[in-house]
């Protein structure tokens, strides 16, 4: 297993863990936020998973499926958790490779504009994006007196028995 596959698997584990944590919160806590972050717990989680959909689609070179999580339409966090797990299964297969990190990907935005980047940059972006929004959720929890889930790579390693 490559170091990149490990980083991708960790990202999936952490997002799934945070998603399950958020979905289990009472409705009143899903609307919490704190200054300097993206928005509420619910909006941040939906954006986090909706973006995973878009990154996976860009890597596959296919449009997002009809049941994709979207910021504009998704409200059910149980659906977000289930879809995140499905995406994690896809990312696990993707991570096994082979991955050509130099392959150029063209990504088309909703407004018709395009971006071109090597696959390695897209991977760096989705790892960054996942960490960024999980950290924002951690700040929201901390600011509101909620003990956040432990989702570092060392926590993951402990669960896997790859750290002791």
């Amino acid at each position: 297993m490559s170091d990149l596959a490990i980083a991708i698997d960790y990202d999936s584990w952490a997002t799934d863990k945070v998603a399950q944590f958020c979905a289990a919160l009472p409705a009143s806590q899903r609307t919490l936020t704190t200054p300097g972050t993206m928005g509420t717990v619910q909006a941040t989680l939906i954006h986090l998973v909706a973006a995973r959909e878009r990154y996976a689609s860009a890597l596959r070179g296919q449009p997002a499926p009809d049941d994709a999580i979207r910021e504009t339409t998704t409200t059910d966090l149980a659906q977000v958790v289930a879809r995140s797990k499905k995406l994690s299964e896809w990312f696990a297969e993707f991570g096994k490779g082979p991955i050509d990190v130099e392959r150029i990907i063209t990504r088309r935005a909703a407004d018709g504009s395009t971006q071109q980047m090597p696959t390695g940059i897209l991977i760096a972006q989705f790892l960054h994006h996942g960490n960024e929004h999980r950290a924002q959720l951690g700040s929201i929890f901390g600011a509101n007196g909620i003990e956040p889930p432990h989702y570092s790579a060392f926590n993951w390693g402990n669960e896997l028995g790859k750290i002791s």
């Binding site: 170091d3 490990i6 300097g36 090597p118 390695g120 600011a143």
Partner: protein, 164 residues
């Protein structure tokens, strides 16, 4: 030869240095800003960010880059932190492709982690604390720098298109 994690580590280093340089341009008093739910002050977060990465690389290489460990009880200038972060970032890129991701690395005190987990932790840790720093900036009315991999790709000329 570049490894599969190459762009992820290059982005990590670029983002940390971009944040440090942004913070160096602020009034020195801004380094004492904080926000609820984050790690601490802006300076304390930057110090921990750099010190953590320095430690992770020392685990993999046995080298304390930057001369001596960055510790909480010693206030070092941002110029100094930038010098340490530069050395650590460059070393992360060279060590990853020659590292065995499954190798057990001694953490001290009888504990160990695989090298792959340490690299995943390095990436997670950087993104996590950079996000806390940008949360502090945003919560205090300072527009934070763009630190995503899109921004990195555009800044380095390896991605094209408009950032959205």
């Amino acid at each position: 030869m570049a490894g599969p994690l190459d762009q992820v580590l290059r982005h990590n280093s670029w983002a940390t240095l971009s944040l440090l340089e942004f913070c160096r341009s602020l009034d020195p008093e801004a380094l004492e800003l904080s926000a609820t739910g984050t790690y601490g002050t802006l300076y304390g977060t930057l110090q921990h960010l750099v010190g953590g990465e320095q430690w992770y690389i020392s685990l993999l290489t046995g080298e304390w880059l930057g001369g001596r460990p960055v510790r909480r009880d010693e206030r070092r200038s941002l110029d100094d932190l930038i010098a340490v972060a530069t050395a650590v970032g460059q070393r992360s890129v060279t060590v990853a492709p020659v590292e065995d991701a499954q190798r057990r690395v001694d953490l001290g005190g009888g504990e160990w982690a695989t090298a792959g987990i340490i690299l995943a932790q390095l990436v997670h840790h950087g993104n996590e604390h950079r996000t806390q720093a940008t949360t502090i900036l945003g919560a205090n009315g300072i527009d934070p720098p763009s630190l995503g991999a899109w921004a990195y790709g555009i800044a380095t000329g390896i991605a094209q298109g408009e950032m959205r």
